[in-house]
Amino acid sequence: MADAMRAGDKTPSGVANSKAEARPEVLFSDGGHFVFRAKVFDANDLRRAITRIAHEIVERNHGAEDLVLLGLYTRGVAIAHRIAEVIASFEDLTVPVGALDVAFFRDDISLRQVVPLGATEVPVDIGDRIVILVDDVLFTGRTVRSALDAITELGRPRSVQLAVLVDRGHRELPIRADSVGKNLPTKKVEDVRVRLTEVDGADDSIELWGPVDEPFDPAITESQ
């Protein structure tokens, strides 16, 4: 249960908490006390990562013609728009961007409160297109699994690929990302906090936070 509440998973609690600046920070829905541990990305790092991901996507698919970017609420949608902007800057073509809410497709609906985070909006027919799923943090993989189910209801894409800003490990399903901004080894109890200007009103950043009472081994994070 507690794991499912961490960032990288689609819960309102992580969103509500992201604006707070004071440290150490309390207020996680599981009642834990979290403290700041490491800065993973600043705004420039994040911009570079998105630029690289945009290039990787186009390179892998030999162009951007048949692509459609589908962001997962909440931050995935913002990242998808940014990737589309970058692609437009060098490919002279606007890739359609959609937003996907996976709430009703989750497998833990009966285990915790799952509420929709936004409306699913897909601007084009995804049939026979290459769908790039975009999210901020890849963790257990369960959100991505739900997204795959949600996509199935919308049509039959030629292929589905996954782009994430952070892969923090601890997969519970055989799912991997095709483009990764940063591989970040973490402990399961830790929390990766992504902030994006358009969503959080704060400067772009990615930070690693952990429970107060959990010993922190910087070597795990620094090793990357």
Partner: protein, 308 residues
């Protein structure tokens, strides 16, 4: 976490808004090519209707199916009820088959409340006697908010018809009042409750004076098939004084909304051309009903229900 929806009183203001927000998501689901989500896969919903109904029953069953729940339908005419089985035995039998929720309609006021004490599953009241019809109230509020804005505080609503015998009037009035709307009950004195103490409303028996100052006219069905309950000399006289005729519709504000829970008696409480006019959102109420009932079932059976 709520287990059952027996009365609109089970939801406070924020609860009503939460259901409306959920319904908004489900409405987009119902507009897709595949209007179905796996949210309640593995759950079973039984629809147990002791009273005639087409729209409410179909609406609930459609809602459950669009959430991927299995639906069990009890057909009264061919069930053991005909052999004299008691309500208690019937619902306990259904419970023993392993259902997760029971949608129940019964002519006895309070029947769903009784059922809820006998069985350990989610009960949704789909109308009990003259008591309550909470999902109708929710779909009414949802439909009104879509047109009048999310904030209904100050919205002026006239509910017209046999208030006294209407479970719809009871639930819908309370729901609108919860959201801050100003409700006026319009009916001949014989169709008003004996006492309005505790009702957050005003009453009037003069429809014509209320007409020009409302944002929403809600017409109730006159149950003329029950002659004894007509409480009025004749249908024609009712139409003359309380029917939404073309003439009365012309005196409404141009942006007014006209609602009716159905089924309509065209030519009695509403003129056919008024029911078809742009101001009428009667068919939309039906469409929204499915999304709202999806929200109710999801609220009761999904969304953390197992750990509640």
């Amino acid at each position: 976490m709520m287990k059952s929806l027996l009365s609109i009183d089970d939801l406070d203001r924020s609860g009503i808004i939460e259901i409306c927000d959920l319904a908004e998501s489900f409405l987009t689901v119902t507009h897709r090519d595949i209007p179905k989500v796996p949210a309640l896969r593995g759950k079973t919903v039984a629809s147990v209707f002791y009273e005639e109904s087409t729209r409410t029953r179909l609406s609930f069953e459609t809602a459950a199916k669009r959430l991927s729940a299995d639906v069990m339908t009890m057909n009264m005419s061919s069930s053991s009820v005909k052999k004299g089985e008691s309500l208690r035995d019937t619902v306990q039998t259904i419970e023993a088959m392993g259902v997760d929720a029971m949608v129940i309609r019964h002519s006895g006021a309070g029947a769903p409340n009784r059922v809820a004490t006998w069985v350990d599953l989610s009960i949704v009241n789909a109308g009990d006697g003259r008591h309550e019809h909470p999902t109708q109230a929710l779909l009414d509020v949802y439909t009104a908010r879509r047109h009048l804005g999310a904030d209904l505080s100050g919205a002026r609503i006239a509910i017209v018809g046999d208030i006294r015998r209407s479970r719809v009037a009871r639930s819908t009035t309370k729901a609108f009042a919860q959201l801050g709307a100003k409700v006026t009950l319009v009916a001949p004195p014989t169709m008003l409750p004996d006492s309005l103490v505790g009702w957050p409303v005003v009453a009037s028996s003069d429809f014509d004076s209320v007409l020009p100052e409302v944002d929403l006219v809600y017409l109730l069905r006159i149950q003329h098939e029950r002659e004894d309950s007509l409480a009025f000399p004749s249908l024609r006289e009712y139409t003359e004084r309380y029917g939404l005729t073309r003439d009365r519709a012309d005196r409404l504000r141009p942006e007014v909304l006209i609602m009716h829970p159905g089924p309509m008696n065209r030519g009695v409480e509403i003129a056919p051309e008024v029911a078809e006019s742009d101001a009428s959102v009667i068919t939309e109420q039906v469409e929204n009903g499915v999304a709202v009932r999806m929200a109710v079932l999801y609220h009761l059976l999904g969304s953390g229900a197992a750990v509640a």
